[in-house]
């Protein structure tokens, strides 16, 4: 990734939770990355958001520490760490809003060459019967994304 990242990351014992702190004009905001295993399809769902002082999670707020790219880079590195522990896992993610999904699409598109070296990347599109996964290509409006570590 071309961007800076947050270097200090914490991980849970089972490697399914990752935490780091975003710093900026809005102060120190605790971030959490959470992997849920969806047994019915054998896929991990990736979600992340702000860890609030009361221990609850907020995945909709815009904290505006002006460090969006740094946060996304940190999430990508955390995915690499997750894949070290779960090397054959498929990981699904999408934005909590359509705008955020587009943001992720653009981030993948801009860094596609680098990401493709390490990950298989699929995009989900709707068809008549449900959803179809296709290899990620620039310029397509995807509903969500699936990635898996290559060369395991």
């Amino acid at each position: 990734m071309k961007y800076e990242k947050y270097d200090d990351v914490k991980v849970s014992s089972d490697r399914l939770e990752y935490g780091f702190i975003s710093y900026g004009p809005k102060g120190a905001i605790q971030k959490i990355i959470h992997f849920d295993f969806i047994e019915e399809v054998g896929v991990y769902n990736l979600a992340f958001g702000n860890l609030k002082p009361d221990g609850s999670i907020d995945d909709l707020s815009v904290n505006d520490n002006q460090d969006r790219n740094k946060i996304l880079a940190t999430v990508v590195y955390s995915v690499s760490l997750f894949c070290k522990e779960y090397p054959h896992a498929w990981i699904y993610f999408s934005g909590s809003t359509a705008h955020r999904t587009r943001l992720y699409r653009m981030a993948i598109a801009v860094n596609l060459d680098e990401l493709s070296a390490d990950f298989e990347i699929l995009g989900l599109v709707k068809d008549m019967e449900g959803f179809v996964h296709i290899p990620f290509r620039k310029g397509i409006d995807y509903f969500g994304f699936l990635i898996r570590r290559k060369n395991v």
């Binding site: 990242k5 270097d7 200090d8 990351v9 914490k10 991980v11 849970s12 014992s13 089972d14 490697r15 399914l16 939770e17 990752y18 935490g19 959490i32 959470h34 849920d36 969806i38 019915e40 399809v41 896929v43 769902n45 979600a47 958001g49 999670i57 995945d59 590195y77 690499s80 760490l81 070290k84 522990e85 498929w90 699904y92 999408s94 909590s96 699929l122 989900l124 019967e129 449900g130 959803f131 179809v132 996964h133 509903f143 969500g144 699936l146």
Partner: protein, 59 residues
């Protein structure tokens, strides 16, 4: 005791791997309380809805 030793070795391996990525990784058991819990219920429900209506993934 043996499992404890294996876990510590795996922790070290991951921490060393993280260093190669430029990450200072700390194992933090306080994050364990979120594991196995549904902390993003809407996201998870939506993900299930999508993935259960998706053609199978390549093996």
């Amino acid at each position: 005791m043996f499992n404890f030793v294996i876990m510590k070795e795996k922790d070290k391996e991951l921490i060393e791997y993280a260093k190669t990525l430029g990450i200072n990784l700390t194992i933090d058991p306080s994050l364990d309380k979120y594991s196995g819990k549904t902390i993003f219920p809407e996201k998870l429900a939506e993900a299930k809805k999508v993935l259960l209506n998706m053609k199978p993934l390549p093996k």
